[in-house]
């Protein structure tokens, strides 16, 4: 390469260098970037035995049993903003020859009710357990209510019970969280 050729190339390169720019891009698109993960997470599970519905000391039926747990992640600030939809899935396997009503009462930290839902469970037999499924889809304004919840009270109600009742009521549950950041 001789000097006459080199210099023009050199000048062009220098020009390129000082005119370096960013083209055909639109950084406003950054506002449209949205992470939309869908997270599957176990929720609660239990195994209620038939004898838990009868007070053998006083020979009295216990028609409703109740338990409570914190679910502190729900009223966490980031989840409140990013949760768009939640789908609860409950799977009951019942080998007790009774049907049940199950109530889920979501409470805030100061015990105000924020969201309630309920379902019924078909009766089974110890030899032939029956599966009942329940799906609760929550979106829109209900999400605001749900994400104020700090704890959930689960109440299981049996229509009648006696000391000879056998079997178990099993629950498995999960939630699908549709998030958007």
């Amino acid at each position: 390469m001789n000097k006459t050729l080199f210099l023009p190339i050199f000048v062009v390169c220098i020009c390129l260098f000082f005119t370096g720019c960013i083209k055909n891009t639109d950084f406003d698109q950054a506002e449209d970037i949205a992470l939309t993960p869908v997270v599957e997470l176990d929720l609660i599970y239990f195994n209620l035995r038939a004898e838990q519905f009868f007070d053998s000391i006083n020979s009295n039926p216990i028609l409703t049993v109740r338990d409570t747990t914190d679910i502190k992640f729900l009223d966490d600030g980031t989840l409140q903003e990013s949760l768009k939809r939640a789908e609860f899935y409950f799977n009951f396997t019942n080998s007790i020859p009774r049907s049940f009503q199950v109530d889920f009462q979501f409470l805030s930290e100061v015990n105000d009710t924020t969201y309630v839902t309920q379902t019924s469970v078909s009766q089974g037999t110890p030899n032939a357990p029956v599966i009942s499924e329940f799906i609760e889809n929550i979106e829109g304004d209900d999400i605001l209510q749900l994400t104020k919840a700090h704890k959930v009270v689960v109440s299981v109600t049996i229509p009648s019970s006696d000391e000879n009742l056998e079997g178990t009521l099993n629950l498995k549950s999960k939630t699908t969280y549709f998030l958007e950041y």
Partner: protein, 471 residues
Amino acid sequence: MQHYLTIILSLVGFFAISQNKQILYGFDDVPQSLMLNPGMKVTQKKHYGIPFLSQIHFNGGSSGVSVYDIFKDGSDNINDRITAKIFEMKNTDFFTATQQLELINFGWRAKNEIYFSGGIYQEFDFIAYFPRDLAILAWEGNRDYLDYEFDLGEISTTGDFMTVYHFGLNKQITDKLTVGARLKLYSSMFSYRSVNNAGTFVTTLGDENSENIYEHTVRNADVTVETSGYASLRELDGASQVTNEILGRAFFGGNFGVGVDLGFTYDFNEAWTLSASAQDVGAIFHSKDVENYRAHGNYTLDGINLIFPPLSQGESTFPYYDDLEDEIEREIPIDTLHNSYTQLRPVKFNAALSFGFGRFNASGDCDCLNMGGGKLHKQNVGLQFYSIFRPKGPQMAGTLFYHRRLTDYLSAKATYTVDSYSLSNVGLGVSADIGKINFYIAADNLIKYGNLAKAKSVSLQLGFNIIIDEE
């Protein structure tokens, strides 16, 4: 020529680089090339870098994605482009940033023909590998990835901010061989690393014997983050206090390290020359202000198990949620440790084979002034090789170069570099002497300067020196 290129490409492989100063290496018109090979042939008698201006170096790169890939003006959705890129990129793709600023640089040839040089520079160096699995988990969630083991070991990142004090010797010991060495003292102002991590996270669908619908399992987790110079910053208030504290460590206030650079240049004959160097063979010993975090263990989450205990009036049930949190903290504890650790510097290796032709003769006639000194060629062409040791192994680059002395005050070097950022990286460096003032500028990826958004890496060095030539 294309055949040669093919051979070089296949030899070099498609690895990536950072900290590569391929234009400056062997560019003997610029005194800072002595920083890349302490055993290069020094042409000047003395040099003084103009304080804070003798070398400003910046290099940023991402091997798998460019700004344009994500932000291009198009009708398709930006989120679709990000999704496509996340799946396209590998866990060996990485993001890097390096910045150096010379505070002082000087050198002189002593009576015993040894060229002494020394100085101080500040360096920031960062690399993060792309944690592909965690990116997928954050972007998509786990619903569509049941039974897929997300690899926690993909987390691999280091960052360093330090001052380097150096002093070197350079001597031509025979007609053919020049050697040099440089001793370096590192003063680390801030450092962190999270490497050699392990573990998986998987969500599996349970069967009828399972406690709940899913099992969320963290298996063999061992994730560490080591920091030095961080714990004391946490207690400070505001950016100005943090800045003052970090800068206060620049002058031997932080953690120390020691290292060497070694290099040589060997002339086979009039035309052919081989040179090679190793930089930063050394380590930093982090003992002051060290805080390390380690999370390790196994855990399977099934959800919350309600017991329905019989309760009297006013009695509260078990604290299921708090117990669950305690259990997770017990099974996968996050320990905070203060044990000191040694960090090897990323060793850089440079080599070049060059063919020179045409005797450089600035005055036009007899080269009387340069009879005794090194014979300078008017033009050089050759090959260069570069590698740097990084947490996931060496990254390499190959370069073809053309160096030409245009006049006694102007010379230029053009490079074509192959690395995993691109196969079309053309760089150009210019060194100009205006009186005793030397100015140089070197930049690569020039083809992409038309639209920098498309470049996966940019590298820039520039600076001012005072050079006193051999009389």
